[in-house]
């Protein structure tokens, strides 16, 4: 896919190269400024001894101009070609790389607009190929019209129609597109409340640790803080003296503000990411638009969906909120490998979207089975000798009283409870078309995979499992995993035979996408 050669010569002369939009230079320059902080600090540190204060602004200006110059050079040497069969990107100042991306290999095209780029009417176009090595190809930045033109072009090329979309054609809305899921402001807000997060304190703490040399005081010196409080007329003695009731109020105030900050963080983060969430179904697949400051627009072709994952949490489940993700070879974003089709939806909405991806809702719990309890019991029994050995060691070597070491047996309660919860939530099953797997007692997850999408099936047995006649069944899914555990060997063999019959039957017939 990647070739380092002079491709310009063998390109047909009719194909002309395009440059990125020049304004994009400013955008990437400004957004790259934080990276320049360290070179600048280093440069300032270098001229510090010269004792000439005029040097410092000169050094800063030099770093900025140098950076801008190299970005301009890179821009000059960056070209993309929209060819007959592929998109080619040539880049590099000294090391030239030419990458060719065949249209058939492009999994999806996403357009991302960060705030600054959005102000300038620019967007970042990303071509996902599902190839292993991360960054596939990115055009940052082109005008929004160009981005839409490229996407429309790739879609039509993929469909086998060589329609030439001209640059001045308006970003046309597809006629067959209709929204199947959207979140209004209220929904996003409620979702934010469920996304309670105290991560801001971790971030602040980390920053304080990183940059504490910049602060005029020692951040971790509690005596200093107490001293500061005393200067303002608050002393430890005073706090001790205000009485239990007032102390309680203070404590409530502290906890309350923590809780408030947690909710506020959740709401703000969710709002930034999910604002204006819209999922539309087009003839080419699902199209998702979302974001408040950074707008993203990602398309997922329907036939690439390999499995659906429905998730819910212990609290949101009570109000019926679930999320739906699609498993595929393409990566949704850096944090999320699966395509988020609906982050916060009711079950009926979830099943409606899944239906559009030809994944059906489970038709009742009767098809699902529990795992063999002895699987979890054995795991617990493996821990017991460890705890007993620990107790024996304490009694023998540390002369601990036997009665008190028995308390250590409580150590078994927690794993025991976890195993019990895991066993209680776990279900597996299959019907004529799909596989079902339910797991997790805190983050509850239901995976549904069409059997025809299974890539390989493995029956595995560890040394303990084989003694109990248990096995696990591992299904290879493109972009995800599905593993049924704690089933009797005979069941595993039967399930595998049933699924293999489906996979083999489909392989040699034309019923590839519709069931």
């Amino acid at each position: 896919m990647r070739e380092t050669a002079d491709v310009i010569d063998d390109l047909p002369p009719s194909v002309e190269g395009y440059r990125l939009h020049i304004t994009g230079l400013i955008v990437s320059f400004v957004s790259g400024l934080p990276q320049l902080v360290f070179p600048m600090v280093a440069a300032i540190f270098g001229v510090r001894k010269a004792e000439n204060p005029v040097l410092i602004p000169i050094v800063i200006a030099a770093v900025l101009i140098l950076s801008l110059f190299f970005r301009w050079l890179a821009w000059l040497r960056f070209q993309y070609f929209v060819g007959e069969h592929d998109i080619r990107v040539e880049k590099g100042i000294l090391n030239r790389t030419a990458r060719s991306i065949p249209y058939e290999r492009i999994q999806d095209v996403s357009i991302e607009q960060k705030p600054l780029a959005r102000m300038m009417g620019l967007g970042e176009v990303k071509f996902e190929t599902g190839g292993g090595d991360g960054d596939d190809a990115m055009l940052s930045f082109v005008t929004l019209e160009e981005a839409n033109r490229l996407r429309a072009l790739i879609r039509s090329r993929k469909a086998g129609v060589a329609v030439f979309v001209t640059a001045d054609a308006p970003a046309h809305v597809e006629e067959d597109a209709h929204p199947i899921f959207a979140m209004d402001g209220r929904r996003v807000f409620v979702f934010g409340l469920y996304s309670f997060s105290l991560v801001i304190f971790a971030v602040l703490g980390g920053l304080a640790q990183q940059f504490d040399f910049l602060l005029p005081f020692d951040f971790w010196d509690f005596k200093h803080w107490i001293g500061l409080a005393e200067e303002r007329g608050v002393s430890v003695k005073q706090i001790n003296g205000v009485g239990l009731f007032a102390q309680l109020i203070l404590a409530f105030g502290a906890v309350g503000s923590l809780i408030f900050i947690g909710f506020a963080t959740g709401v703000v983060r969710t709002l930034l990411r999910e604002h204006g969430f819209r999922l539309t179904q087009t003839s080419k697949g699902f199209r998702r638009q979302r974001g408040l400051l950074t707008l993203t627009d990602v398309v997922m072709p329907t036939h690439r969906v390999q499995a659906a994952v429905v998730q819910t949490g212990p609290i949101r489940k009570r109000r019926g909120w679930h999320s739906l993700k699609f498993v595929s070879l393409a990566q949704d974003s850096k944090e999320e490998s699966n395509y988020v089709a609906a982050p916060f939806a009711t079950l009926s909405e979830v099943w409606r979207i899944a239906q559009a991806a030809t994944i059906a809702a489970p038709d009742g719990d009767e098809r699902l089975q529990r795992g063999a309890a002895k699987y979890w019991l054995t795991q617990l029994l493996v821990i017991v000798p460890l705890v007993l050995a620990g107790m024996a060691a304490l009694v023998v070597f540390a002369d601990a009283p036997v009665g008190r070491t028995l308390v250590l047996l409580l150590l078994l309660v927690l794993p025991g409870a976890l195993f019990w919860l895991d066993w209680r939530q776990y279900r597996f099953g299959l019907d004529d078309h799909q596989l079902y797997l339910k797991r997790g007692w805190w983050q509850q997850q239901l995976t549904i995979a069409p059997q025809v999408k299974v890539q390989s099936i493995e029956i595995a047995q560890g040394p303990l499992a084989r003694r109990q006649g248990l096995a696990s069944l591992k299904f290879g899914i493109a972009g995800g995993t599905l593993e049924m555990i704690a089933l009797p060997l005979a069941t595993a063999v039967a399930i595998r035979a049933a699924v293999m019959a489906k996979v083999a039957a489909v392989d040699y017939s034309a019923i590839n996408q519709s069931r």
């Binding site: 560890g462 293999m500 083999a504």
Partner: protein, 156 residues
């Protein structure tokens, strides 16, 4: 172990025992050398290092490959490849030909001497994205590759 299996499994080429003995023996040689050095340093009574290490070495390099060989097996169906291996950690994998993305036939230096090869099939699944079948006669591996390729071409 595979009482469920209607089609009988094909064993690997017996030369696999030899190649795997050689490979293990070479791979573990540093431990023997290390034990020899410790022995030479005469820290403990003679034989404390060398004797147990040599015994373990002989077991792992001589007995284990023969056992491993007994637990490997494969079945080349008309539309699927089945690979069975392991006793302690038993695994029985089926890959339908229609799901195979590409096929490798590898030969290491030891393999080449004994005319063996490893057949590796790649699938798109995250789990079992590669399924390797070592210890095939080179000609068999090539024939299997051609058979799988023909099956894939017919499919598309």
């Amino acid at each position: 172990m595979t009482d469920d299996a209607p089609p009988e499994l094909t064993p690997l080429d017996p030369a696999f025992i030899t190649t795997s003995r050689i490979a293990t023996a070479l791979g573990l040689l540093p431990f023997v050398v290390g034990a020899g050095v410790l022995e030479f340093a005469q820290l403990l009574p003679p034989g404390t290092f060398l004797v147990p290490v040599l015994l373990a070495y002989a077991f792992v390099a001589y007995t284990v490959p023969a056992r491993k060989y007994r637990h490997w097996g494969y079945d080349m169906g008309t539309d699927r490849l089945r690979v069975v291996r392991g006793y302690m950690f038993y695994s029985d994998t089926i890959v339908p030909f229609g799901r195979i993305q590409h096929i490798d036939v590898d030969q290491g230096p030891i393999d080449r001497r004994y005319g063996l090869a490893t057949l590796t099939v790649h699938t798109a699944g995250n789990h079992n994205s590669t399924v390797a079948l070592p210890g095939l006669a080179h000609a068999d591996a090539l024939a299997m590759r051609e058979a799988i390729r023909a099956a894939i071409r017919q499919d598309t």
